[in-house]
Subunit: 267 residues, 2 copies
Amino acid sequence: MATVMVNGLPGPMATAVALEVVKRNLQLAPMSLCGPSRSGTVNVESVVVQLCPPNEHDKAMEDARAKYTDLVVVDCTQPHVCTDNTRLYAKHKVDFVMVATGGDVAEMQRLVKDAGLRAVIAPNMCKAIVALQSMLQHMGEKYPNALSGFKLNLTESHQATKKDTSGTARAMVGNFNKLGVPFSVEDIKQIRDEEQSKALGVPETALNGHAFHTYDLQNESVQLQFQHNVVGRHSYAQGTVDAVLFLMKQTPGVYNMINVLESGMIS
Amino acid sequence: MATVMVNGLPGPMATAVALEVVKRNLQLAPMSLCGPSRSGTVNVESVVVQLCPPNEHDKAMEDARAKYTDLVVVDCTQPHVCTDNTRLYAKHKVDFVMVATGGDVAEMQRLVKDAGLRAVIAPNMCKAIVALQSMLQHMGEKYPNALSGFKLNLTESHQATKKDTSGTARAMVGNFNKLGVPFSVEDIKQIRDEEQSKALGVPETALNGHAFHTYDLQNESVQLQFQHNVVGRHSYAQGTVDAVLFLMKQTPGVYNMINVLESGMIS
């Protein structure tokens, strides 16, 4: 049975993953790499997890590696540290699932290959969204210009604290271009205003944590619309633990969430 | 340049196709197979088309075959006659696009093959919808159970004169089953009431001719929604003429709209 070390506690994504690890009856490692402003312990259900600030990172990874045979790290840290963390995972030969985004993915891939590790590196852990993305990618490749003549409106709503444009929405734009729909990333309509988010159907309780996307395509007589609306972090945590279970059955290499979906090893 | 004989004039679908033929600068044949209650001529833009009732069908096909080298029939007739019509097309060696639904497709395919013809036989001529169907089929095959745990609500609205459940909606159900979503054709919610249709967003002017479909998938934290909403018949007519142009470049055989889309030969 896997022992999962969730780095980034007590952040909200790391907390959601740690809870899912316990819920799925995997073993949660009692240590977590954290940032410089943290210390002490946090409780995840009945597990007391020691928070390890940067000066203890190397030692924590060494201890975890020595203690747990089937160790897998889930990295829910920050864009500016996740690439350095990967160097530590490579040094100590620990397989990992990278949930944090914004790192140097090419460098991570190189580190994984050189160390002969197994890793899932994916920009979105929500299986339903990954499936939809893959589906639109397939459509664009298989049916070039199938939607020529359509006009796209792309609206995304997130919690007001999210400053940049949705990466998921940005990644979709290229697929629509292949389908013959002119559109650029700058045309994405961002909503970060609570009233506008509510008008789009975001529940009051999710104003501080949601990811709503609507792709509306119209020509003079046909409307096609796709929506993926996520509330909270549970669906990402589920997909992350699926990725851990998937990873334990693989040979060394870098995988993504499409590989996890294709395996059918999903909860 | 193709000469296109549109059978089923002056019905609304045949009329839409005949207008599209003229608009796309193809030649419209000046005769059309029609039902027993019709006679005389109809004007399609500047073309005067002779309506040929059943006792003249054989002669009309013979004349058309003799007169036009690149003849293609588009059959927009009725479920109870389109299979017999196919026998006539086979007898006179005329390639065709079958827009009418409800015929004996297996028998049509046999007739096409035995006569060495080319035909497009497809239940839905709207390219955008065919692309979406193909995409969901691909998703079901490639990612089995990717949407397990989701609950589906499928709502379709059509003009009140349509008595049966949407064939397009029915065809989609199997794809969702493959994705791990339990659902049966009986669970489809049919709307044939004008007020309810309007509440779904159908414009007043389209109450007597529309096809709106919403597939709403939800679990506790994720909503995925697909819609395809068609007003009038123009999009079907466009796809039909695309199918004619596609067909003229093919070797003998039976094709469908997915083949047309894959060819990229679309307007």
